[in-house]
Amino acid sequence: MATVQVSEAEKVYILHGVRDDLRVDGRGCEDYRHMEIETDMVSNTDGSAKVTLGHTDVLVGVKAEMGKPRPMVPDEGYLEFFVDCSANATPEFEGRGGDELGMELSNTLYKVFNNRYSVDLKSLCISRGEHCWVLYVDVLLLQCDGNLFDAISVAIKAALFNTKIPKVHISEDEEGGKEIELSDDPYDCMRLNVENVPCIVTLCKVGHRHVVDATLQEKACSVASLIISVTHKGTVTCVRKVGGGSLDPESIFEMTETGKRVGKALHAPLMELLQEEESLGKKRQKVGFLG
């Protein structure tokens, strides 16, 4: 992961600031940086979104392909994640440098998203035990400036919201032979219910307090952080601790409480924004990568 070198004096400055709820860039401890979202960025995916959080830049594409349901859950589709740490983001990712981080990120994403409580996996089933939709979620890191998890989770939620799966219809002939038929209208497609899709809130323990959306400098001052995925209702679906340091149970509880509060507050404007963008339809002026 991209790291920065911070001097002792700087560390003290940051720590003192956080203690007083005033961070280097003027934010409070529970504030996010400026966030930009654009969906439907990549035309050859079925759904896509780009999220910019501070200087962190993440692109997510969702491609729906037909597959066979997993034997244990014959009536559900599933998601596959792949995180590509592009060397564009930071030179450290060059060669196989980003593989480890990519693996770690995608493992977390599996835990957070690939379950029936987060995504309505049943709606991805086409015919029980035979055909289902597999959503390939490809995450591309374009720029790393801290707090990757939150940015990725928001981008995934937006991309899933944007995903349009072509409607298929199974016709059966007399002998029971099944034929998949595809509607010829490109507008005839299925949308996913993303209401329960959680967002990840990463809380960084800095000194005695914890901050949301830590910058790289803040991250350097922190020994451990907690990754909490929260639904729009404030339900915590997953908690993970990352980083070398230890957290005492008391502060874990505090951090979880903060996470729930911040997560809840994050969902509402996000959904509102996505709905608004959707309602603009084709008239929307696309910003793209150069905007």
């Binding site: 035309s43 050859n44 995916t45 079925d46 491609k63 729906a64 392909e65 037909m66 072509p166 298929v168 002939d173 007399e174 002998e175 032979g177 998949i180 595809l182 010829d184 209208d185 490109p186 507008y187 084709k282």
Partner: protein, 943 residues
């Protein structure tokens, strides 16, 4: 401006793919009109002065047809009267998608400068491009695109043009239905006839009575075929009986079955060559094919019941043994309608505009057309396109396309013949001609550098008289070591025809040059076929040479292939060459060379025959054509000289050598020719025939067959052997081209060669061009290209070549038949001797050697009581009123021309000898026998 087009597609493996294509919109697409001052176009297609007299719009206007009009009324658009038409890209794409032949015709019109048709690329124009909206079907979107473009044109040219489709009216555009518009063209009423009937019109024509069962929808047919309840096959109508047909069901691999269809209801509106779905009837309803000849005689009203005819049909032989799988047509998978040639059968009612059209091909049903020029069209050969066949109509509906000329006219008849045999015979297009070398053409330094200079060799060509496309030449000289060097030099056509260009594609499509009596339809433009490629004497020509070193026993010591430059010393006819060889006084180089070749050829031929090559026979005739009138004045059977077989021998040798070379080099994609061994059952008739003369023909191998044919002689009956060989020819299979990667059996049965190809006639056969290219690559003289190495593409090409060759043969035969008729027309009535070739249940087939003419002679006559016929299938013999006819019996017949039916002129024969027991000539009783000229012998050309 960039837009993207997105659509979802199902892949072959069952997956679903989203496909995104970039789509660029531009501002610099011009309207193409002379009237326009805004567009910065360099040249315009649409004229300023576009006046067609029309009731509906009395001002100059352009036409802008929509897709349906193009699809259904292409004949109208092809009319020279219709000019200044805007074809939208949307329309063009839709047409391309829905009908490839119509697309091709439309493209041809667009290329025709005289027609002033303009393609407007509205899909790329910024102002006329539209995106598909939610809930809009692809069709609706295209219709909207057409309306938008029409409106754009209308605004752009200040209301000059207007479209034709109905829906555009909401835009306030001037739109007319095609019928209305065409009918409004005051000056040109004949155009109305070319209108295709649309659905609403059909209803008026027919009564409400439903004559045919409904066709099943395609989805039902497909699931039925999958489950095996239905069979899919090609519908083949019977030539002799309009109420009977067979459906050829293609099974797995080679096994394919035929399903018999009988009766109008079961035929269910299928037309010859359609792809249909059939349902096999239960076993107790199976019938045997009837041997009755039934022709749909006159126009029948729809309410006339067909029961009478059907009853007649069923009265055929009903022995359980001869029953065949019988079925009924349940649906049409693909219509294979093409414009048909034929003649108009005038309605009895004088003022009627609806008439029946009788196609020249008897397998095609009559077609009902509407025309106001019936009086003019009567007696002319016309072309008619089929529009549809509603279930309550006895006949399909169609419309008049064009007139070919008056019937009986030689030009017209040849045209009909070419059209009916699907022989492409239009003049070469400008695009094709543009690839011809510039004249004057000379051999350049570069050519000389890569070619071997063989100009000093004594090369000469031997061909039939009057041949202008000389594609082979030979030489022979002694080598210092006592061996001989023999060269076969073939015109290097592949030097001029480069792969992939328009000329190459055209040649590949034509496949072969078609030789009709008195006319030649070239495969390549004349400049090449008769000049630059033709190896004429005393000019330098490019050649592809195959040169052998041959020892005294005619064994090949060394073979090599090279591109070369030659200068032929003499172009001889077979007769001239023969004279030189025979004339002991002539000792020039050419003659010596010929003698050497002749000597070697004799050895080669002997060896080939020892190996089991067949010498078969077929009566081939040649006409002497009057140079003024082009009428045949005499007729002679082809005479074979020693020199014929000399040339043939070396061509075979070259072909075999090349076949081996290209197969060694490209085992997967060599184009070869094979001649499969016929199945033993094919020889039944030959065995029976031989038995009647107490002879045995061994057919287990080609060698055995050749030997027993040689041994079969009857004293005092020299023609017997020839007759037997003619029969043997009928037993053979067709030789076909194939791609070596797609087949494992390469054997050429007739030539007894393990491998064979065609190399020696690239001017008249496309297969040879491909073989030239392969050989050129093999010896490093030319570069290869992807299609040449693609066995699937080659295989498809072979299919086309085989089809074209077959059709060319049929056309050739039909042309000979037509000229035979002309000949007999001028000769009046003739008495000739002939032999019985086959004996059938109710007929004998007579061959007249002098004319190579063969005909089926029926002993049954509709109007007269049938004579007493006893048929013995075992012998076979037919006893008519006590006189028995056997195979090979000599008979004497009177030949005359029956011109009572202009469309199907017949040669009539009457038996003169033998007389029957009462001393009365058989002819008196049997009145007349018809000779079906279409049943010409099936020749099996060697090689």
């Amino acid at each position: 401006m960039l837009k993207s087009k997105t659509f979802v597609k199902k892949t072959r493996s069952g997956g679903i793919m989203k496909i995104v294509r970039e789509h660029y919109l531009r501002d610099d697409i011009w309207c193409g009109s002379e009237v326009c001052t805004e567009c910065k176009q360099e040249e315009t297609v649409l004229q300023k002065d576009t006046y067609i007299e029309s009731n509906l719009c009395s001002f100059p206007h352009y036409l802008l047809p929509d897709t349906n009009i193009v699809l259904s009324q292409i004949d109208i658009l092809e009319d020279p009267l219709i000019k200044n038409v805007i074809i939208l890209q949307t329309v063009l794409q839709e047409v391309r998608h829905r009908s490839a032949p119509i697309y091709k015709r439309l493209k041809d019109i667009l290329h025709d400068k005289e027609k002033h048709f303009y393609t407007f690329t509205n899909e790329h124009h910024r102002e006329t491009y539209i995106e598909r909206e939610q809930g809009e079907s692809a069709n609706d979107r295209n219709d909207r695109a057409i309306r938008i473009s029409t409106k754009w044109y209308s605004d752009h040219l200040n209301n000059t043009p207007h479209g034709q489709e109905e829906k555009a009216e909401e835009f306030g555009l001037l739109t007319y239905r095609c019928e209305e518009y065409v009918k409004s063209l005051i000056a040109n009423p004949e155009l109305v006839d070319r209108l295709a009937l649309t659905n609403d019109d059909k209803n008026e024509i027919t009564s409400s009575k439903v004559l045919f069962p409904e066709h099943l929808p395609l989805s039902r047919i497909q699931s039925g075929i999958k489950s095996g309840t239905f069979q899919q096959g090609t519908f083949r109508a019977s030539r002799d009986n309009y109420l009977e047909a067979t459906v050829f069901v293609h099974g797995e691999g080679d096994d394919s079955t035929e399903v018999l269809i009988q009766g109008l209801q079961n035929l269910n509106r299928a037309v010859h060559q359609d792809l249909v779905a059939v349902e096999i009837l239960p076993l107790n309803q199976w019938v045997a094919p009837s041997s009755v000849v039934l022709q749909d005689e006159g126009p029948k009203e729809d309410d006339v019941t067909e029961e009478e005819e059907e009853a007649e049909l069923k009265s055929g032989p009903s022995g359980a043994a001869s029953r065949k799988p019988t079925g009924r047509v349940v649906g049409i998978i693909k219509r294979n309608w093409r414009p048909f040639c034929g003649m108009l059968f005038l309605s009895q009612i004088k003022e009627a505009t609806r008439h029946l059209f009788t196609p020249a091909d008897r397998r095609i049903p009559r077609i009902r057309i509407e025309t106001r020029q019936a009086a003019t069209l009567a007696g002319q050969r016309i072309m008619v396109a089929v529009d549809g066949w509603p279930k309550h109509s006895r006949y399909p509906n169609g419309h008049f396309v064009r007139s070919l000329g008056s019937a009986g006219d030689k030009e017209t008849e040849t045209e009909v013949l070419l059209l009916e045999h699907d022989v492409p015979h239009q003049d070469f297009s400008q695009a094709v001609l543009s690839f011809l070398p510039k004249m004057p053409w000379n051999i350049t330094e570069e050519d000389m550098a890569v070619r071997e200079d063989l100009r000093n060799l004594t090369v000469c060509s031997v061909d039939p008289p009057g041949c202008t496309d000389i594609d082979d030449a030979l030489h022979c000289r002694d080598l210092p070591n006592g061996n001989q060097e023999v060269g076969v030099h073939i015109a290097d056509v592949s030097h001029f025809i480069r792969p992939g260009n328009a000329m190459d594609l055209e040649a590949a499509n034509r496949g072969t040059t078609v030789y009709l009596t008195g006319r030649r339809i070239d495969m390549v433009p004349e400049l090449l076929s008769s000049n630059l490629c033709s190896l004429r004497s005393s000019v330098e020509r490019l050649a592809f040479s195959c040169i052998w070193e041959i020892n005294d026993k005619a064994e090949i010591v060394k073979t090599r292939f090279t591109k070369s430059v030659i200068n032929s010393k003499a172009s001889l006819t077979y007769a001239e060459a023969q004279m030189r060889i025979d004339d002991a006084n002539m000792n020039d180089d050419t003659t010596k060379s010929l003698r050497g070749l002749n000597r070697l050829a004799k050895i080669l031929k002997k060896r080939r025959i020892e190996k089991g090559a067949l010498t078969l026979s077929s009566p081939e005739v040649r006409f002497h054509i009057d140079s003024e009138t082009h009428d045949p004045i005499d007729l002679q059977t082809k005479e074979l000289k020693e020199t014929n077989s000399m040339v043939e021998e070396f061509m075979l040798l070259a072909n075999i050598s090349v076949a081996q070379k290209i197969y060694d080099e490209f085992s997967e994609c060599a184009l070869l020719r094979k001649h499969p061994a016929p199945p033993p059952s094919n020889y039944d008739i030959l065995n029976k025939a031989a038995k009647s003369k107490d002879m045995v023909i061994h057919t287990d191998s080609a060698k055995a067959l050749a030997d027993s044919l040689d041994a079969a002689q009857v004293d005092g009956f020299p023609y017997f052997n020839t007759l037997l060989r003619i029969l043997a020819t009928r037993c053979m299979m067709q030789a076909v081209y194939f791609c070596s990667g797609m087949d494992s059996d390469f054997h050429h049965y007739g030539l007894a060669s393990p491998i064979y190809t065609h190399f020696t006639s690239p001017i008249r056969r496309y297969s040879d061009i491909i073989v030239h290219r392969l050989l050129a690559v093999a010896i490093g003289a030319d570069s290869t290209y992807p299609d040449l190495m693609d066995k699937h593409k080659q295989s498809a090409l072979c299919n086309n070549l085989n089809y074209r060759h077959k059709m060319a043969q049929y056309a050739q035969r039909a042309s000979v038949a037509y000229h035979t008729q002309l000949f007999f027309k001028s000769r009046g009535i003739l008495n000739e001797e002939g032999f019985i070739l086959f004996v059938r249940k109710n007929a004998i087939i007579v061959l007249i050697p002098k004319f190579g003419l063969e005909g089926t002679v029926f002993f049954e006559n509709k109007d007269k009581p049938s004579p007493k016929l006893i048929f013995n299938e075992e012998v076979p013999s037919l006893t008519v009123e006590g006189h028995s006819f056997n195979m090979f019996d000599k008979v004497k017949v009177t030949i005359s021309l029956d011109a009572s039916n202009v469309q199907h002129q017949k040669i009539r024969m009457s038996l003169v000898e033998p007389v029957n027991v009462n001393g009365m000539p058989v002819t008196c009783r049997m009145s007349s026998f018809q000779v079906n000229v279409n049943g010409m012998p099936v020749t099996c050309r060697m090689g």
